[in-house]
């Protein structure tokens, strides 16, 4: 079963501490993502979920703790190098280049592998057919759902070992949320490990194999997604029941 400790971890975070300026947001967060696994991180607003993502990918320099990719230490590497090693990241907002066309956005996604760009772009268009019609349109003109698709497609251009998603459902209409989650499932089904941060805890738990509950910049709970979904504590505090 995916998620058992015996499987090799693709991504492992140990006691990560990070913040901005004088403010420390993460006070030691640990988690792991196994091969082919989909892991959700849920928690209330201000729990440090987005900071966790940024610290893993190198946009916010970690102050302590370690980030391991297949056992290799990538802590504190600059973002462009973390990405080059196969950790791709979709930010919550502003996750496309609005003045670039859809095609150019995907080209930028494949910036590190320009030779494969064409082939991978065809694959992306196969996965997201609605983007194919709009390949020459500027990304700023796309709808919210289409942008999210483009953001996913852009992040997949490097064929990442693990895909980090920061609130993929934020600001989308319910129908679009379903569609985006379906695509995420599809991506995970091809073997790409996914680490997803979500405000929409219920949906995220339904989708994920395992989950962590984050609060006040620290781990609170972890377990199989189904168990957390069924746990009355989680339900009361984080699912709003």
């Amino acid at each position: 079963m995916a998620g058992s400790t015996s499987t090799a971890s693709v991504l492992e975070v140990r006691e990560l501490v990070a913040g901005y300026g004088e403010v420390e947001v993460l006070h030691g967060v640990s988690l792991r993502v196994a091969e082919g696994e989909m892991v959700a991180v849920i928690g209330p607003n201000g729990a440090g979920k987005s900071t966790l993502m940024k610290a893993i990918v190198g946009l916010v320099p970690p102050r302590a703790g370690r980030v391991l990719l297949r056992g290799q230490d990538i802590t504190g590497l600059p973002a462009e190098q973390v990405v080059a090693r196969g950790v791709c990241y979709v930010p919550q907002a502003d996750n496309v280049f609005p003045s670039l066309t859809v095609r150019e956005n995907l080209e930028m996604g494949a910036y590190l592998v320009p030779k494969q760009a064409r082939a991978r772009m065809e694959r992306a268009f196969a996965l997201f057919p609605e983007l194919a019609h709009r390949r020459h349109e500027r990304a700023g003109r796309l709808s919210g759902g289409q942008r999210q698709m483009l953001a996913l497609a852009r992040a997949l251009m490097l064929e990442p070992q693990v895909l980090l998603l920061d609130e993929p459902s934020a600001g989308l209409a319910p129908r679009m949320v379903e569609l985006v989650f379906a695509k995420v499932r599809e991506i995970n089904a091809t073997g790409t490990a996914v680490l997803m941060v979500e405000q929409n805890a219920r949906e995220a738990l339904k989708l994920a194999h395992r989950a962590y509950v984050l609060a006040m910049g620290q781990n609170r709970l972890e377990g199989a997604a189904q168990e957390l979904l069924a746990s009355p504590d989680v339900a009361r505090v984080y699912l709003g029941e």
Binding site: V57, G58, L59, P78, A79, E80, V83, A84, C88, Y89, P91, D94, N95, V96, F97, P98, S99, L100, E104, E107, M108, G109, Y111, L112, P114, G140, R154, L158
Partner: protein, 365 residues
């Protein structure tokens, strides 16, 4: 309470709607103003219009460099004009080898001038291939200088996460320093690439232009087209645009933003040098010119939509045209004094800021 809150929300949404409409209206008004002005200028004084096109093409090159730096690095580089003039002086220096001495100029033993035939006039132009070569060398030198200044000044400030305004203040210091350097090396008196008086040629509609001016227009537009191709057709150019859109997203796409920054400075530096040489070719080399062009170039870049390269071209053209044709305007029954040329750029700037701050082609924020 809820009724008040609802009324407040309603008023706010109404305000938003109004702002949105005002933006669209301002845009339409601005476009209408610009187009009718251009047509009017072309019809009423084709002579000034033609000069405006030439000056505008120089401003356009300058604005292109400015807007690139602004787009990619997000700060207003107030040293832009002085860097342009430094480029012009560097070209002068490699061409003639002259620097100011105590009583008169001191010359290097050898300069491009002393190459065989370097000062022989190319066709009807006033200069020979020596100046073209000098411009090329100055472009190279200024590109390197810009990269150096970025490493020495701007990058450390960025690393410290100093705000963009701090970078702008630093650029003011650089501007003053560069101008003083030019005054030290070449003195306050104006200089010329080529001495002598050259007649202008007649064109249809009573337009009189020197061949140098036609050359300036052609070279500037040619370079602008090359920059366009670079930005929209090459991987590096697209990376520059991507970084201008969203630097963090560029980094997590694997784009080496340090390299893109270096490339941007190199490109901007080369453009500045060529723009500086062309500007000096219109009249003369003068250390004060750098600050004089700063305002119209900024106004042009903002009019086009700052950060937008195509907008920079268009905006700079319009500002130059307004400045050139303003000499013939009558306001309150009196001819506008030519001293008001910089004032014209300021009025345009204020008009854009009031009507539509994002400019003609700028993205909505």
């Amino acid at each position: 309470m809820t009724a008040i809150a609802r009324a407040r929300a309603f008023a706010l949404s109404g305000w938003q709607e109004l702002r949105y409409r005002a933006d669209a209206l301002g845009g339409a008004l601005l476009w209408a103003l610009v187009l009718s002005f251009l047509v009017g200028a072309a019809v009423s004084s084709p002579d000034h219009f033609a000069v405006g096109l030439v000056v505008g093409s120089v401003y356009a090159l300058a604005a292109l460099g400015l807007t690139l730096v602004y787009g990619v690095l997000r700060f207003a580089n107030f040293a832009h004009g002085d860097l342009m003039m430094l480029g012009a002086y560097l070209a002068y220096f490699v061409l003639t080898g002259a620097v100011v001495g105590t009583r008169r100029d001191v010359h290097l033993p050898r300069a491009l001038d002393s190459l065989p035939g370097a000062s022989e006039r190319l066709g009807d132009l006033t200069f020979g291939y020596g100046l073209l070569l000098a411009t090329l060398l100055a472009a190279l030198a200024l590109a390197l200088l810009c990269i150096g200044l970025d490493r020495l000044v701007y990058r450390p400030l960025r690393r410290r996460r100093a705000g963009v305004v701090v970078l702008a203040v630093a650029s003011l210091g650089l501007a003053i320093g560069l101008r003083s350097l030019m005054l030290m090396l070449w003195g306050p008196n104006p200089r010329l690439y080529v001495e002598g008086v050259f007649p202008a040629r007649s064109f249809p509609f009573g337009v009189l232009l020197k061949t140098d001016q036609v050359f300036t227009f052609g070279l500037a537009l040619g370079l602008a087209a090359l920059v366009y191709l670079l930005l929209f057709r090459t991987r590096l150019g697209k990376a520059m645009r991507a970084m201008a859109d969203n630097p963090d997203l560029a980094r997590v796409s694997g784009i080496d933003t340090d390299r893109v920054t270096t490339a941007t400075w190199a490109l901007a530096g080369a453009l500045m040098a060529v723009a500086g040489v062309l500007l000096a070719l219109q009249a003369q080399l003068n250390p004060q010119l750098g600050f004089v062009v700063l305002l119209p170039v900024f106004a042009g870049a903002i009019l086009g939509g700052i950060g937008n390269p195509v907008g920079a071209l268009l905006g700079a053209m319009v500002v130059a045209m307004a400045q050139e044709t303003s000499v013939g305007w009558e306001i309150f029954g009196r001819q506008l004094d030519p001293t008001y040329k910089p004032g014209v750029a300021f009025v345009i700037l204020i008009a854009i800021l009031l009507l539509r701050p994002r400019g003609l082609l700028g993205a909505r924020t």
